[in-house]
């Protein structure tokens, strides 16, 4: 750095005089030129000119005076401005240089502060980038505020978010006057898929079936080509497909000429009409391969009748129509349809939700909680750093007092200290960004898959700006606390009297900071404890089957086995092939594996039930299962029998029911031998099986009934193979067994039953593990804070302790002195923290599973954990106090 100091007049620099005005610069230039002209006149006169003529001659010889004046003034002003900038810059540079020296002189302190800050800021950066991507990014639709999701509701059956049948959907579209457009789709994550064959390996593509105006309603422009038109839904013209960006990239190498190309889906040629942009994956959370016209596809054997409710509906409100007006208009239509068609009895209303809520509503609260938790972590971090700085400031109080006495102004000292804290904050922030990058990668790998709209979690400009802002704010926060104290009027006191005035009130401030840290840590740890307990409770829920040692395979019977006989034969030969695989003990199949769907709703009338009146039946969920499904799942038989090979086509159709249904329909009686009526027919119940938590561990058990696939079946197969050892070890053999039956069979997924169940609790697991992480951070920082304050106190009180020991104080009482101070501070912090945690408990209630948010046991455990940590943190400095040799300690001063 070559700042020519000489350029700036020393006095002006020191006094920080303001820059010269334009007028003064001009006056100086005039004076200079005046002097020159006078000298030339004198010279001319000496050479014999008449004084009257000499003046004019001098000016003539000079040249353009007016221009020169302007030119010189301008140059001078430019120089002044440059100097001013230089001086400011120079000062900042000197502050920074001084800061660097100070920080390097105490590397341990600096490292601890930077590490602490990096953790705090990094955690905030990582969580914020998740929040931004999931909650804050605008939805990838045109004018998303006018978009809503619409569900069919049946209040009598307690169904508020039901699917819509195709005939109802058509009537809704035709009769309503409140929607600009209304679209529908059918999509079930992991289930709606098409086989993609042709070039390369056969692939199972994640598909959504788009009904009329699905794309028009969302209003997202395709990245390439076009979306579907009304014509694409017409029979015979509906072999068209819109590709997802990811598939276009991975499978077609982002070919620009993809439009019009023919690809083979489910064995039929489809022509590609468009590619959607990368961020458009609706209705999937993360990624979707293709959109296909609904008209092409009968959704998994479900017909187009009013009883078959499978469509999801979206609508764009007309401008000026409110959500309430829309809902009330749709209710009227629903009520009319409910009166007009017996299949619609009870389906008298709709549920309407804003699009955003329908997509991210379920994660809004957990994410806000996490954001709150990391904010607490950052607050603890700041308090911790503030108390570290304060401790050091006390140690530096003489240095600062000397500098102050030597004429450094109060502003100058504050600026120096703020430069220090801001430098620390920015460095810490930079390290934090590095940590956040790691954290995001780990998050993306683990359970971010359970979050919608988290395709690319990355640190972009917005996130970095956020990091910069919180870094600066933190720097100001932890920088100002000690700074204001140090720059106080007590400096001369500090200079004059050894142990200065700072000691006492500085100590009070330090104590307050420790109490604040402990209190904040208590809040965090309570939250971590509650969510962890809730997660454990969730994990220990008895699902009703044995999730260990079971391989699950998801696939669909191809269209080519379309005749009933062929389909059943194929279905059974697949199961038989898997059963032959060594290591497989039992194999069964169901349309919807647990957590993957809830079967089909039916309302059977019981024959001779005392509790359920005909026509008033509650909804019961029907599952199509293979003979050995229950054996393979290890679902116990409660009474009667399982399905037998004799329950086939031609034989009387029989049902199994679960315990919940048995109790609901025939309380206190054995359901075996009873009958139900669906339509005109009566069916016999032959067995009762144990309850299964079909919709996940946090959900209630629904009444279920089961029919044997040999009497009625669906094309989707959720196969479960009970294995002797590690189920994944058999994955390859099982795949091969399936391909031995039909080498073109596509397989949607192969995994373990445990993973299926685990995925259902992945969000609570993510929440709990992050909160535990943050809680531990808070605990560590809090303990560090206690340790720091006590260690400092011990070093400050060396003489006092020395005197006590010299006067015969027992080691016990010295220990008590130090540990007592630590415990007193922690107790105060814990008390405040518990009060805070209790006050904030309400916000946690919604994410907890079957437990109160004010849980005395958890609170007690938090107290125990914190006091334990506090005891440990106090013990170490106390031991140092014990080691004080009274003789040396007293000689020191």
């Amino acid at each position: 750095m070559t700042v020519p100091h000489e350029e700036v007049p020393a006095a002006r620099r020191a006094l920080q005089l303001p820059r010269r005005t334009r007028a003064r610069v001009r006056a100086a230039v005039d004076e200079e030129l005046e002097f020159h002209l006078d000298m030339v006149v004198a010279e001319l006169v000496a050479a014999g000119w008449q004084p009257a003529d000499a003046e004019g001659e001098a000016r003539r010889r000079f040249g353009d005076i007016a221009y020169t004046r302007d030119y010189c003034s301008a140059e001078s002003l430019r120089r002044e401005r440059g100097q001013h900038r230089m001086a400011t810059f120079d000062e900042l540079f000197r502050d920074l240089k001084f800061t660097a020296r100070t920080l390097l002189r105490a590397p341990g302190f600096t490292l601890i502060v930077l590490f602490t800050l990096a953790l705090g800021i990094g955690a905030n950066t990582a969580i914020f980038s998740v929040v931004r991507s999931v909650l804050l990014e605008p939805l990838p639709f045109a004018a998303p505020d006018r978009l809503v999701r619409v569900w069919h509701a049946n209040r009598a059956d307690d169904v508020s978010e039901g699917a819509v049948s195709e005939p109802d959907y058509i009537d809704w579209r035709r009769e309503n006057t409140v929607a600009e457009s209304m679209g529908g789709f059918f999509f079930a994550d992991g289930q709606t898929s098409v086989d993609f064959t042709g070039d390369g390996a056969p692939q199972d593509l994640k598909a959504a079936l788009a009904a009329e105006e699905f794309f028009e309603t969302l209003g997202t422009a395709p990245a390439l080509g076009r979306t579907f038109t009304a014509e694409d839904q017409l029979e015979g013209r509906n072999r068209v497909v819109v590709l997802g960006y990811g598939l276009w990239e991975s499978r077609f190498g982002s070919a620009p000429d993809i439009i019009g190309r023919r690809i083979t889906l489910n064995g039929e040629p489809f022509s590609v009409v468009g590619v959607m942009p990368r961020n458009f994956t609706y209705p999937a959370d993360q990624q979707l391969d293709v959109w296909i016209p609904l008209s092409y596809f009968g959704p998994d054997d479900i017909g187009r009748v009013r009883a078959a409710r499978f469509l999801q509906v979206i609508a764009r409100l007309k401008p000026g129509v409110t959500e309430a007006q829309f809902a009330s208009a749709m209710n009227t239509i629903s009520a009319r349809l409910a009166g007009a068609y017996t299949e619609n009895a009870g389906w008298e209303s709709v549920t309407v939700k804003p699009m955003r809520e329908s997509i991210v509503g379920s994660v809004q609260r957990p994410l806000s909680l996490l954001l709150g938790a990391v904010a607490l972590v950052l607050l603890i971090t700041c308090v911790n750093v503030a108390s570290l700085l304060l401790t050091r400031a006390s140690a530096r109080e003489r240095e600062l007092a000397v500098r102050s006495a030597l004429g450094a102004g109060r502003g100058r000292i504050i600026r120096q200290l703020l430069t220090e804290s801001l430098t620390l904050a920015l460095l810490g922030g930079a390290l934090g960004v590095g940590l956040a990058m790691f954290a995001l990668r780990a998050l993306a790998r683990s359970s971010a898959a359970s979050l919608p709209r988290s395709i690319d979690l990355s640190l972009d400009g917005t996130v970095l700006a956020f990091t910069l802002v919180i870094s600066l704010l933190s720097g100001l926060l932890f920088g100002l606390m000690p700074t204001l104290r140090v720059a106080g009027p007590s400096l001369e006191g500090a200079l004059r009297g050894g142990r200065g005035a700072l000691g006492k009130s500085g100590g009070r401030l330090r104590n307050a900071l420790v109490i604040a840290q402990v209190a904040l840590a208590v809040v965090l740890i309570t939250a971590a404890g509650l969510t962890t307990k809730s997660l454990l409770r969730l994990l220990s829920v008895d699902m009703g089957f044995n999730p260990d040692n079971a391989l699950v395979v998801s696939m669909g019977v191809p269209e080519r086995y379309s005749t009933p006989g062929a389909a059943l034969t194929y279905y059974e030969s697949i199961l038989e092939a898997i059963r032959q695989v060594p290591g497989v003990r039992a194999v069964g199949s169901v349309r919807d594996l647990p957590t993957q769907g809830n079967g089909e709703m039916r309302k059977p009338d019981p024959v001779g039930s005392t509790t359920v009146q005909p026509g008033q039946s509650p909804p019961v969920y029907l599952h199509h299962v293979s003979k050995d499904y229950f054996t393979a799942m290890e679902i116990p038989l409660k009474s009667g029998r399982f399905f037998e090979p004799t329950d086939r086509e031609g034989a009387p159709v029989v049902f199994l029911v679960n315990e919940t249904m048995a109790k609901l329909y025939w309380p206190g009686e054995d359901a075996v031998g009873k009958a139900i009526r669906m339509g005109p027919q009566e069916f016999r119940i032959v067995g009762v099986v144990g309850d299964v938590r079909q919709r996940g561990p946090a959900e209630a058990v629904d009444p279920q009934m089961f029919i044997h696939i040999a009497q009625n079946r669906r094309s989707h197969m959720g196969i479960v193979a009970r294995t002797d050892g590690d189920p994944l070890a058999l994955a390859t053999a099982v795949r091969q067994a399936i391909w031995n039956v039909d080498k073109d069979q596509t397989i949607s997924s192969v995994g373990t039953l445990n993973d299926l169940v685990g995925r259902a609790v992945s969000r609570p697991r993510l929440l709990a593990s992050l909160l535990v992480l943050f809680g531990l951070l808070g605990l560590t920082l809090g303990a560090l804070g206690i340790y720091g304050v006590l260690a400092f106190a011990v070093s400050q009180r060396r003489q006092e302790i020395g005197v006590r020991v010299a006067l015969g104080a027992s080691p016990r009482s010295v220990l008590g002195l130090v540990v007592g101070q630590g415990m007193k501070l922690s107790a105060a912090g814990v008390a405040i923290g518990i009060a805070g945690a209790a006050a904030l408990a309400g916000t946690l209630q919604a994410v907890l599973f079957e437990m109160p948010s004010v849980d005395p046991a958890t609170f007690a455990q938090t107290v125990a954990v914190l006091m334990g940590a506090a005891l440990l943190a106090s013990w170490l400095p106390a031991r140092r106090a014990l080691a004080i040799d009274p003789a040396t300690a007293l000689r020191e001063e």
Binding site: P4, E6, G63, R78
Partner: protein, 110 residues
């Protein structure tokens, strides 16, 4: 013997001024006189150009200035050469010499 003085080549005014100041700190008039004497009226540096150059050089940091008292007891602005100005002067002289050497190698042999 009155020859028309040659007008200065572009940029050589700066070199002359720096050379003058390398001698000793001077005010603008002093520099004008110094140059006139050294060049024996062969080179004409207009006063306007001189002052413009001085202020430009000062802005560039090659010369510094301070108000002082002149020989006839008047307030005058004295210029002195800065360290960076000396370096610049040295470099410029080398450049100019190279330039004219090359030029005259051609003119003398042709």
């Amino acid at each position: 013997m009155a020859r028309e003085p040659l007008s200065l080549l572009q940029g050589t005014a700066d070199v002359l001024i720096l050379k003058a100041l390398a001698w000793k700190p001077m005010h603008g008039y002093g520099i004008a006189v110094w140059i006139r004497q050294r060049t024996e009226n062969d080179l004409a540096l207009e006063d306007a150009a001189l002052y413009q150059a001085l202020h430009r050089l000062e802005r560039k940091g090659w010369v510094e200035s301070e108000w002082g008292v002149s020989e006839n007891n008047r307030r005058a602005k004295f210029y002195s050469i800065a360290k960076s100005g000396r370096q610049h002067l040295r470099a410029e002289v080398v450049e100019l010499r190279r330039y004219f050497d090359a030029l005259f190698r051609v003119l003398d042999t042709a």
